[in-house]
Subunit: 311 residues, 2 copies
């Protein structure tokens, strides 16, 4: 087991009884969840296995859990098809099998894409061995939600010296997911699979704030190729074309505005981050953002409907 891989990302005894309440909410795929959605005015929810997911196990166990999860998702969605869609859980430890499972999940189980929880037992998603998964996603024309996890074991040490919180949602989650996204961009994967779509949570994990500076090495012709990767476009261009961000857990108007002005509503989606955040607060946040009603509707549902092919 890697650090951060103990029952969600925390140790259960620390967060009792609230950790268990969250777990109960996660496991309920019916009335409790629908009631929360109704109260917040949320019509549809995207279901997915919570972090750290199947990525934490050995390949065989991970794959078995991935298949079982996707079948459970399929059942829950079939029960309330007008309220739920789902993203497949994968076990990228077995890349070829994971690619086939994504295909099965989309074609046979009706799931709308995949969710991957950042690093795979310490290795990065841009490693070539994982590319069959992204090839399958592009070929199926479904997005991959790159969800955070605690930092890669090789970098986590400085996040743990002052209490575990710095490794979690307050900082390490975003640091890890953003580094993964940057590595994907630098790896050239979007040149190989130009139709690949990546979803980032938390208003883009900080990537959009840095958009101007991400191109630093690419706007300076005197920075030769030994320094920067051999990719065809500038990082910001891949982000604009290949990335979608959601608003999970970031009910901040200043942060929202920076992403909205940089990326535009066509690549932004509402997310409640249920049950970790308050769904009603999340929904009200979008109601009150300084944006046109057309853009609010895009963020609230139209972009997701198009991306997940619901219309």
């Amino acid at each position: 087991m890697y650090k951060g891989y103990v029952r969600l990302w925390y140790e259960p005894q620390i967060w009792e009884p609230h950790g268990l309440q969250i777990e109960d909410s996660l496991l309920d795929l019916g009335k409790r969840r629908l009631k929360n959605m109704d109260e917040a005015g949320i019509d549809m929810q995207v279901l997915s296995l919570s972090t750290p997911g199947c990525e934490q196990f050995g390949a065989t166990r991970g794959m078995a859990l991935s298949r079982k999860t996707n079948e459970e998702l399929h059942k829950a969605i079939n029960k309330y098809p007008d309220r739920f869609i789902g993203l497949a859980a994968l076990a990228p430890q077995s890349p070829e099998e994971a690619a086939r499972e994504l295909e099965r999940a989309v074609k046979e189980l009706g799931l709308k894409g995949a969710k991957i929880n950042s690093h795979i037992r310490g290795s990065y998603l841009d490693e070539k061995k994982y590319w069959p998964i992204f090839e399958a996603a592009e070929s199926l024309d479904v997005p991959v939600f790159l969800h955070p996890n605690t930092p890669n074991p090789s970098t986590i040490k400085p996040y743990l010296d002052h209490g575990f919180a710095l490794a979690g949602p307050a900082w390490g989650f975003g640091a890890e997911a953003a580094l993964q996204a940057m590595r994907l961009i630098y790896s050239g994967i979007f040149d190989k699979y130009p139709g690949l779509k990546i979803i980032l949570g938390h208003l883009g994990e900080g990537l959009i704030f840095w958009m101007y500076r991400l191109d630093f090495s690419f706007k300076r012709p005197w920075m030769e190729e030994e320094v920067r990767p051999r990719i065809k476009r500038m990082p910001s261009e891949y982000i604009r074309d290949n990335f979608y961000v959601n608003t999970s857990g970031m009910h901040s108007v200043p942060a929202f505005l920076s992403v909205y002005l940089e990326l535009g509503a066509d690549h932004m989606m509402f997310a409640a981050d249920y049950p970790y955040e308050n769904s009603g607060e999340a929904a009200r946040f979008i109601e009150e953002i300084p944006a046109s009603n057309i853009d609010k509707e895009k963020i609230q549902h139209s972009v997701a409907e198009k991306l997940f092919k619901l219309a």
Copy 2:
């Protein structure tokens, strides 16, 4: 020598001839620099030793270089006292001596604070052994500019797999400086030295974008103290009170707005990042930001005049 510590943060042969042109500009403390300021409409400039600074050497050599640098700064400033002020170079490897050097630099050489280039040969600034430096800064009522460097050697590996650029200004610089800042906050150093003032570059190294979420563990009473550090206030409160950010290298209106709306003009300062960025472009950026003239003046000069006690 640590990675990233080879002549500035790059290897000279890679960036010829432009690396050498930058070096020439860095070393000139007279006409060439003043001409650039005049052309951009910049009245005063804060001089400091460029990253990675004295932090890369052994304690004895580092201290000697620190003293020499500060004396050189003093001379250059005395030559053009209405155009230059300076921040002391320190060698925190020798914390007590560095604290005394800061005192000498402020009291005897007229420097206005200190600049520290992130990690000290791989160790973090929040380690208790470095606190005498921050104690001195608080006692002298001068700010410490926490400047980025390439990531700490213990975390740098994943930044180096696709060309060196990810470890530099395009990503790693900010990741490292922000982690340092978060560790300072989590360490409780601002409870011990509540008057301590930290300057961050690049519009706050991403910290301000995350402001809402930085308090994640602190707004949830059920997250007990085993998870989060025992500090008196929420991270965002320390940032609001103890941090100043400058606009170096971030000529982005969306990013600017998020920081401006979150932090306010009273803690923001113009920076040109000479000679790494174009001073004229940096100055024009502030002229054109969507903010009141009063706030522009604060950002252009008033906040710095107050912080560095120039008025």
